[in-house]
Point group: C2
Chain length 429, copies 2
């Protein structure tokens, strides 16, 4: 115990997990690229961490001689100026467009200095020597995802939300942290909450009112389910950070969307969620996804995230809903090729079978459905005839079945830290 | 001659040709579906009839016992209620959505009664017995295109413009005819003029000010060229008549486009044309094509006319322009898969070679370029490296090279009539 106490002084460590979120009223475009202030409010559903999560361990020690960072077990060159500039405090290196694919510490949006500043502010008066010295130590950070990066599900939102949560724990900060997470990656602020989350645009130029808050917890709508259709043969799409600023500069339709359409839709969407009205929720989610992609197409040069396969999936969803004469499934697409389907628990088995028939697995298919259990379903012949047209083999790699889930979690069990007592990753790539 | 005179009394006949037009400020959406009044003004380039034209012969005779219609040599069943209702006068049968693919006489938009009414009005006072009896005769109409229907180039605009022109000649009407053509198919009014043509939205509820007029004649910009990239494996897309009304009903972005964006763009486009400013003209044509397709995507359920191949062509054009550091080619896409490229004469040879390298012909390629002559071009290696990425064999069926051309033409030579002295087609399918 004495040894542990000594180690505790010498090495402070905190581990958190954080979720992915999927927007149903989309964020696209910043009014301030340094502070990451959006041109419109957005609303998302936080996905359950049992299926998709990032885990991050942050450690500080007087024994660390340099800042170090590991992503999915592989060390990122900390000598790289971008990483260095991020980890050091007070610097404002030139802004470079981020990738958005995973946790990439792009200055000036690195949360490390921001959380340190919050910690100093908190403790300003008091003389907590332990914390003050902790703040002067070098940090080791390790972060990993419980899903394959190649699937295009890697989320900078989960990555930054997790980093901010772990650092805040490390330094004992208990402030509202969505503003800090937002400065890492805009949509990361929505991953700071579970359930149904609104990111309010805010009005102030300093961004202090551009925050995320919970509209309803994950327990509010127990029947809601999410199917992620992971698409095969993904290419690297246009980076969203660069893409959205081109849209802001060139799309007249995006301006109208942000100023006029989104405020109305946001209020409607909150109402649909409060009333657990799937018809309204699903219809509006589809319309808003389509409108986001419409503004990408109105960008010059145009940006395309939807492919012929996306169109296949969209048409399939509309045929399925038309067959049932109401909205049973709703698609939404972000700045990548995967489709996310919202549905209710009683529809999952049948719709998964419809997807399996429409996009028959290329291999034997025993890994075709992952995540929450899916039962088998026999499709009525008239449903098959009306809905399953022109199957495309192998186009969907697998389906991930999940549901809304909670916000970032503290990992109490020390055996779950990604860093060992020596401050190095327990598992290397 | 005497026989001819007798025949002339017994059989009156007129033949006209009319052009296809391609919009650079797009028309999408009606504010009045019966009168075909658009929600916004539009602007098009009339294509030369040497490459793309419709020819129509209209005949009236006291000997005809029924109205008859031949399209591309095949008789259309005149017993069909839609055709009958169209040819008869004064009827207002229930509106049904038209195909838009070729000349289809859809009531209540058939120009025959409308031109007859104009003829009566003109002659109202005078006692021209010959014309009055002509108006009481049954009509035979034959219409054909000088391009394959399967190529997706068949144009209801050329078809209706030609029918109206031939009927007006038959009955001796010399009025402004774009309003009559408009009621056949909206964009047909623009095919009533050559060169650069604006269709003014108009304000009046009766549509009498919703007319086409010429912005500049085809001789105004002699260097301007048009390349139609005819795409292989075409499927029947969503019919534009039905599609555009769904857009009017469901797309908030279309409303904004029509009310705010188009009025500004129309004035800009006219300026670019007047100044023969290809940079401005091409950029705006591309932006407006993209915005039209954006509003299709914002429609619910969404409408897709652009495919992965369209995206390939769009990306190719942007790479080509980027390589040359200014706008050398400009794409525009209508409600179908073919791409139309605007360029200047000095760029044609090189860009055609770029297209040939990017979409190598599936066969030996001797019919790959049609229409106006295209010279050979050796592509600099750095151009190939920068622009020709991932060739897709056989995706483009052929390229049609054409240029702006004149409006409808009267065919004086009687040997060119599509109907013989017996009132029947000279050539049958």
């Amino acid at each position: 115990v004495l040894g542990a106490m000594a180690a505790e002084r010498a090495l402070a460590m905190a581990t958190c997990t954080a979720p992915v979120n999927i927007a149903v009223i989309k964020y696209w475009g910043k009014r301030d690229t340094d502070l990451i202030l959006p041109i419109n409010s957005s609303l998302s559903v936080t996905l359950h961490q049992d299926q998709l999560k990032t885990t991050t361990t942050a450690a500080a020690s007087r024994d660390f001689t340099e800042d170090r960072l590991w992503l999915n077990g592989a060390e990122v060159d900390v000598g790289h100026p971008r990483v260095q500039a991020c980890l050091r405090e007070g610097e404002q290196p030139p802004h470079s467009p981020g990738g958005g694919a995973s946790l990439i510490l792009t200055p000036p949006h690195c949360p490390v200095p921001a959380v340190r500043r919050l910690a100093r502010k908190r403790r300003g008066g008091s003389e907590d020597a332990a914390t003050l010295s902790l703040l002067s130590y070098k940090v080791h950070i390790a972060s990993e995802n419980n899903f394959p990066t190649a699937a295009g599900l890697a989320s900078s939102a989960a990555g930054y939300a997790c980093l901010v949560s772990a650092l805040a724990r490390l330094y004992g900060v208990e402030d509202e942290l969505s503003e800090v997470a937002r400065r890492g990656s805009g949509s990361a602020c929505r991953s700071m909450w579970g359930g149904f989350v609104q990111w309010q645009r805010g009005e102030r130029p300093d961004g202090t009112d551009s925050l995320a808050h919970q509209v309803a917890p994950e327990t509010h709508w127990p029947e809601l389910r999410v199917l992620v259709l992971v698409v095969s043969g993904q290419k690297k799409p246009v980076a969203s950070t660069a893409g959205m600023q081109t849209s802001v500069e060139t799309s007249p339709l995006l301006k109208h969307r942000a100023e006029v359409v989104v405020p109305e839709r946001l209020a409607q969407m909150i109402r649909h969620i409060r009333e657990r009205d799937f018809e309204g929720f699903g219809q509006l989610a589809m319309r808003d996804s389509n409108q986001f992609h419409a503004t990408c197409l109105d960008t010059f040069p145009p940006i395309f995230y939807l492919s012929d396969l996306s169109r296949h999936i969209i048409a399939l969803a509309h045929r399925y809903n038309a067959h049932h004469r109401h909205t049973k499934v709703a698609y939404t697409f972000d700045a990548g090729p995967n489709a996310v389907i919202f549905t209710l628990a009683d529809t999952v088995d049948e719709f998964v079978e419809v997807v399996r028939r429409s996009f028959p697995p290329a291999t034997n298919g025993d890994q075709f459905v992952q995540g929450l259990p899916v039962g088998s379903a026999a499709l009525p012949q008239e449903l098959v005839a009306a809905v399953v047209t022109e199957p495309v083999r192998g186009a969907v790699q697998y389906i991930l079945h999940t549901k809304p889930g909670p916000g970032p979690q503290l990992v109490d069990d020390p055996s779950q830290h990604l860093l060992g007592a020596d401050g190095l990753p327990r598992y290397r790539a």
